[in-house]
Point group: C2
Chain length 544, copies 2
């Protein structure tokens, strides 16, 4: 039909173009490896165009891949836009993962060029012999700092960029083509790749930047704490130029004194991160009796933020916490808690405790073991499934992994309850929830309850097979002081239903953790099977 | 490539579905024709599904059209979602246009069913003999109010809806298919149709609802003042369920006492409208010494809002004005002024005076007569062109109208300047700007300057052909008191460059206006040609 809307694709390059044209003077600040970069979106785009042009000259274009093993720096940001702007997919490898997992992901993807940082050089040298396809490394640093290396070919980013034309025009791409690739952290088995499309990534930034979530505007300044390799840095690389918010890139460093200085000096208004970062920052502020400048909200992801932390930020610093839920498979956030500025503190904290509501463009539901959709009654737990423009439809080159329901919803592997108003409450990971007599016991809730005991340093709960109840909970604790099993069970009895009480308690020196700091429950299950926890690997029927 | 994002279309029905699921209890309030409707998004969606099902039973589906001649009521809102949700295009005819123009638009589109309101019945009866395709009228009122009528077939909306199934499932449509059709007001010649796609309409609401423009969240309550027939009611029907904002539908009435009562009673936070509405409301508040409740921002469109008005709202009521620019051809807003809450009043007012910046997804540029793109220097005026997801690519069934540049930008017919930071300043309509010696004189600026004289009730400036300068300005005034040509020119000389001063001043009783209240300059040009303005239709060369 004639006269319809103009048909333009949703591309990452259009975000940068918008930023450069409309917010050209807005500051982009990089602090990394002793190099202070103070520039803006106009200059960022010129350099991204130039790098894109250079990559094109090297033969890069649609359906090709490049990789990065790098922190949140201005060059890494340029690379995101340069590579994706010509249709090449950027795999942002996570330098914090075990080297074998990094090598696996790079080899699985298969590309020739890997962009590295001065302080991922040693890691790259260590990885290089295992990397089957990488032939060339590009050091994202000024040319003068190019060091001697065992790498086969090491180029300077600035030399490469200098070959490109600053007036290079962004090509028109298919918005459904891939732009970025992240891998899951592989706590169970090998990492799996999640490929993001231009369309999904743009819609994610557009929707989650809105008023019920990040609430961004040109009045904001964001500090990019989550690594770009982690869910695309939670969309921060796109929020900046899309909304005209100032962007501060802290490089590798996450220690609180450094972050605090950047937050105050650059008038940061919103800081995203995991609770650990915010707990450190809070401690720093208390110890130094320092304020937080213009900071008015945290965006907390990764795991549920402690209530006491959110309360302290709100009451002592006027900083609200936006609590989001998402995973590698959902680009960044799916649901976000919205605590209106007009809400009194208690009501705001109650809202912040939940995982919030889905943004427009995303949907959530829960289902039972047989895939029947369960009611949103705030009580019934079920397997969480998501649908939306920025959720994955499967894993990268792994069609054999069944991620989707028959009617097109992604299975998240989480167990959750949903309120009638579509507010999400995460209960547990599906594989960690304890199925006892047809009901579910949340290992996470038990762990939180156990950890509230002053003598408990850290707690884990796993299932023990049980002939009658199918599974029963086993509590495993690393202690901070003397405590008996009886004392712990009495403590728990005041916090959880009686039938949730663990059948046994095992005391260990240290709990095992994975590469990203999460509890490694699969190791605990192995310890249980090997009899190393001091309890039999199966509860005998007669014990009940 | 495997593992990409889920591929779901951007549809209006997904906005309503999101609202019903996530903000089901949020209030939707209708006040029209003595019927008080107080319901919510959950109920709205049930009724919209039911109506959609009934329309499907009647054979409606993709590529079909229906029409409405109606005000902003809850049934009209249901109809928007019901029709578009099954792929049928809703033509929202403007009851305020001259009957001949309404009939032309309906006949040009050609459909069988027209939805009307109790108080558009008389108009519909008047139009009916001229409507070539309409065979059935549906009265959007409770069944009991169906009146005797000369219309061939008059159905009750509620009877129609009752035939539908409330559990009807929204079909998956092509997001590039059309959903809504508005016509330009046809100040020059016949109205032209602009067809909006689902994709463009969703992206428009998603982007312009963001923090640099409307800044919407579940904390807001919006009063839907602009008619749905006018640029889709400025996206308000979509903002409500997308952001979970409460929605108040005032029906036909726009008088300030009524609007004021709704604003205060329902805790309205944002009110869109034209300056006239806001001037009346301001006067009402001053006369009654009433406050504005929770209202904190106006969204002013249609024409530039007077500075004194914005200042009064800001200083006396703490209400900011968001000043937007858009046209029927651009769905709703393209640019919007963003005055941060942190800006001091003077800086905020300076920002509000401009037409603002384009939102992500829209782009602006200016060009000279030959189509050469001009610099964004804040000084050079040029023909404004726009590009973006929600701008038209041409007119409905009028391929002969050349609306686009060769490289795909829409020609707006406006003259504007653009600042280096992409801020838009409208100068004039292209057809009204006076081309004098290779330079441009803004008729609008001259009119504003003349209207500032206390003896001037209204002023218009048109071009007189000139043998040497090509064109020179003629000032035409309707006076409010005695004033001479010399006094007016002296007054202007203090406000505009000397070479802008009109070559002649003509005094008239009344200036002519079009259907939407705009100055009818084409009538003035005709009066000039006919010698009715007391000045020769061409300036003689010797006069200079």
């Amino acid at each position: 039909m004639q006269g319809l809307n103009q048909d333009l694709p949703l591309l990452l390059s259009s975000i940068l173009e918008h930023g450069a044209t409309t917010f050209g003077d807005v500051a982009v600040v990089g602090r990394y490896a002793g190099e202070d970069m103070d520039y803006n979106y106009r200059r960022l785009e010129v350099r991204a165009r130039q790098l894109a042009s250079a990559l094109r000259q090297q033969g890069y274009g649609p359906d090709r891949f490049v990789g990065s093993l790098a922190w949140n720096t201005h060059r890494h940001l340029e690379l995101i836009y340069a590579a994706t702007g010509i249709g090449t997919v950027l795999h942002t490898a996570n330098p914090r993962l075990p080297p074998a997992q990094i090598a696996y992901a790079i080899n699985f993807t298969g590309y020739r060029t890997l962009f590295i940082d001065p302080d991922t050089l040693v890691l790259a040298e260590q990885l290089a012999p295992q990397l089957e396809t990488v032939r060339r490394y590009v050091m994202m640093a000024p040319p003068s700092t190019l060091p001697p290396t065992s790498l086969p070919e090491l180029l300077s980013y600035e030399d490469l960029l200098a070959d490109g034309a600053p007036g290079f025009a962004w090509p028109v791409l298919d918005e459904r083509s891939a732009c970025l690739l992240c891998f899951t952290s592989g706590t169970t088995g090998l990492p799996k790749g999640v490929l993001y499309s231009h369309r999904g990534t743009v819609l994610n930034a557009l929707s989650t930047g809105g008023g019920n979530a990040w609430g961004l505007s040109a009045d904001d300044a964001i500090i990019a704490i989550p690594g770009f390799f982690h869910c695309n840095g939670w969309a921060v690389p796109f929020f900046g130029p899309m909304y005209g918010a100032r962007l501060v890139l802290p490089g590798r460093r996450t220690e609180s004194a450094f972050l605090h200085r950047l937050i105050v000096e650059h008038g940061i208004t919103v800081a995203p991160g995991v609770p650990t970062i915010f707990l450190d920052l809070l401690r720093h502020c208390r110890e130094t009796e320092a304020g937080l400048g213009r900071l008015n909200r945290l965006f907390s992801g990764g795991t549920a933020p402690p209530l006491a932390m959110m309360e302290a930020y709100l009451r002592d610093y006027g900083v609200r916490t936006i609590h989001g839920w998402g995973m590698t498979e959902t680009t960044s956030g799916v649901t976000m808690s919205f605590a209106s500025r007009d809400l009194p503190a208690d009501a705001a904290l109650a809202a912040m405790r939940t995982q919030g509501k889905p943004m427009f463009g995303a949907a959530i539901r829960i289902a039972d073991e047989n895939g029947n959709v369960l009611p949103r009654d705030g009580v019934t737990p079920g397997h969480l499934q998501v649908r939306g423009h920025w959720s994955a439809a499967g894993y990268f080159r792994q069609p054999e992994v069944e991620a989707m329901t028959e009617d097109g919803w992604l299975q998240t592997g989480d167990v959750a309850k949903i309120d009638p108003d579509n507010t999400l409450h995460l209960v547990d990971r599906s594989k960690d929830v304890i199925k006892s007599g047809g009901e579910w016991i949340s290992s996470q809730e038990l762990e939180t309850a156990a950890a509230a005991h002053p003598a408990v340093r850290e707690a884990a709960v796993i299932a023990i097979p049980h002939p009658r109840w199918q599974e029963r909970p086993l509590l495993i604790v690393a202690t901070a002081g003397p405590v008996t099993e009886q004392e712990l069970l009495a403590h728990l009895a005041s916090l959880v239903p009686k039938w949730w009480l663990p059948d046994a308690v095992s005391f260990v020196e240290e709990l095992p953790h994975g590469a990203t700091g999460k509890l490694a429950k699969q190791v605990l299950r192995q310890w249980l099977a090997e009899g190393r926890l001091g309890v039999p690997p199966v509860v005998s029927a007669t014990a009940q």
